[in-house]
């Protein structure tokens, strides 16, 4: 009787699956151990018997042989069919994927275009909405630059004015930044590289000129004439412009505020007589954007 480890080695040796060294060891054992030799012989005969058994099992009789061709043919056809179907499906899949990618590309391109035009449109609409309905609060003002905080229906809004002749306004309404340039005669909305005229006229400039005339008490004869009247607790400045246009600014004892509408745009003006050139502040220093009188 041999142990199971040797038995396993004999099996592997029979199959030529041992390393050279293990093979030499097994051969040594077989030379010196009769039981191992007998076990190996049994293994060899068992293996031979099994091969014989499988040979017989796989030996097809005449009927099976003739049927073999028929089965091979059937399997070949089935295999060819599946390849054909896969190949057809592959082509179809390629077309589907290609079509899908094309559609997706077109969709993305279209959406981007739409988004771009919508974002310009929204920006413009946002500015116009602000012009019509929003409420502003001046938080600080320094020379050449101003900041405006607005709390409106669309959240907190920040507007910054950078001084200069062509004054640049930048705003952020919680969703996007927009800018517009205020010139002497035009207000231009900037959107990326695109610029769009919002107002052909800049009424603020006209009011500014009129008010300067009031301060100088000389009048700006060509355009506006200012007359100052004091009565009781209030001081009134009447501005007379071309085509019989008349604006009356009525300040309280402290110099303000006076609301005025010029060309459909509302302004709030505060008079600071002691400040010389700074005699007036226009709290609608964001030109073209009306301030609701009620809010003031």
């Amino acid at each position: 009787m041999i142990d199971s480890e040797l038995s396993s080695k004999l099996s592997a040796y029979l199959d030529g699956e041992l390393s050279e060294e293990d093979s030499r060891n097994v051969e040594e054992i077989l030379r010196n151990n009769a039981q191992a030799r007998a076990a190996f012989e049994d293994l060899r005969r068992t293996s031979a018997a099994m091969r014989g058994f499988y040979d017989v099992e796989n030996d097809l009789d005449e009927a099976s042989s003739s049927r073999e061709a028929e089965v091979v043919e059937r399997i070949s056809r089935a295999s060819a069919r599946v390849v054909a179907v896969r190949s057809h499906r592959g082509r179809r899949m390629f077309l589907w994927v290609g079509g899908f990618l094309l559609l997706a590309t077109l969709l993305v391109w279209g959406l981007r275009r739409l988004e771009r035009s919508r974002s310009v449109g929204e920006m413009l609409r946002g500015v116009l909405e602000l012009m019509e309905s929003d409420h502003y609060e001046l938080s600080s003002r320094t020379a050449g630059e101003s900041e405006l905080w607005q709390v409106g229906p669309r959240g907190r809004f920040h507007l910054r004015r950078v001084g200069g002749a062509g004054i640049l306004h930048e705003g952020f309404d919680g969703r996007r930044t927009w800018r517009y340039v205020e010139g002497d005669r035009k207000v231009i909305l900037l959107s990326g590289e695109a610029a769009r005229v919002v107002r052909e006229e800049n009424p603020w400039k006209r009011l500014e000129a009129a008010l300067w005339a009031a301060v100088d008490e000389e009048g700006n004869g060509e355009t506006w004439i200012a007359e100052s009247e004091s009565g009781g607790e209030r001081e009134t400045i009447v501005l007379r412009g071309p085509s019989g246009k008349r604006i009356e600014l009525s300040f309280d004892a402290e110099g303000g505020p006076a609301a005025v509408t010029l060309d459909g745009v509302a302004y709030v003006v505060t008079r600071r007589p002691a400040l010389g050139d700074e005699a007036f502040t226009w709290e609608t220093w964001a030109p073209g954007i009306p301030v609701e009188e009620a809010a003031r």
Partner: protein, 203 residues
């Protein structure tokens, strides 16, 4: 078969497998024909059901060709075929429970073999009867093994595959294959003990 022949045969197998065009039935016919008997023998041994073996072989080829794009030449084609077939056989065995239980085999064995093996023309010659009897003993022993062990034994003894190829075909490790083959032989050897002790020629 010489190694070079095996390589050449395997080259041809892969060439046929990867390039067979649905319009050219001959390529499919040649490849299926080259492996049909080996495939049927393998499945019959694992399933112990020749009819089911035929169906599984067809499924095996269809499965291989259906997923042709996913295969690359990493093993012998026949090894790959055995691997696919074994999975299908195990699925079939699990699904249909076709493996004959050992108790059934014992019952069959208890019936005298001579009374069962007849060709319709009378008693078989004694040598033929003994050969059949030996075959039934081996079959009974083999059927006590689980399907993977049966497959390992068949691939080694009949297909003469190296342990490494058997491991690839059965998705097993070399150690597992070594143990399976050894245990399979032991099971058969035990069943053949009376023959071996008589020292008879057992082929």
């Amino acid at each position: 078969m010489e190694p070079n022949d095996a390589t050449t045969d395997d080259d041809r197998d892969w060439e046929l497998f990867l390039q067979a065009d649905p319009g050219d039935q001959n390529a499919f016919r040649e490849l299926v024909g080259r492996h049909f008997r080996a495939a049927i023998g393998f499945c019959t041994q694992v399933l112990n059901d020749p009819q089911l073996a035929e169906d599984v072989v067809q499924k095996g080829f269809v499965k291989l060709f259906g997923a042709r794009d996913r295969y690359s030449r990493q093993a012998r084609f026949r090894t790959l075929l055995f691997r696919v077939l074994l999975r299908l056989c195990i699925n079939e065995l699990q699904r249909k429970k076709v493996a004959r239980p050992f108790t059934d085999l014992e019952d069959e064995e208890s019936e005298p073999i001579q009374s069962r093996i007849k060709d319709g023309r009378g008693e078989l010659p004694e040598e033929e009867v003994e050969r059949k009897e030996l075959g039934e003993m081996i079959r009974a022993a083999v059927m006590t093994l689980n399907p993977k062990h049966r497959a390992a034994l068949y691939l080694r003894e009949y297909e003469q595959l190296a342990y490494a190829d058997v491991a690839t075909a059965l998705d097993a490790t070399l150690s597992e294959v070594k143990i399976w083959i050894h245990r399979g032989r032991q099971a058969v050897q035990q069943r053949l003990r009376p023959y071996l002790e008589r020292g008879e020629r057992v082929r």
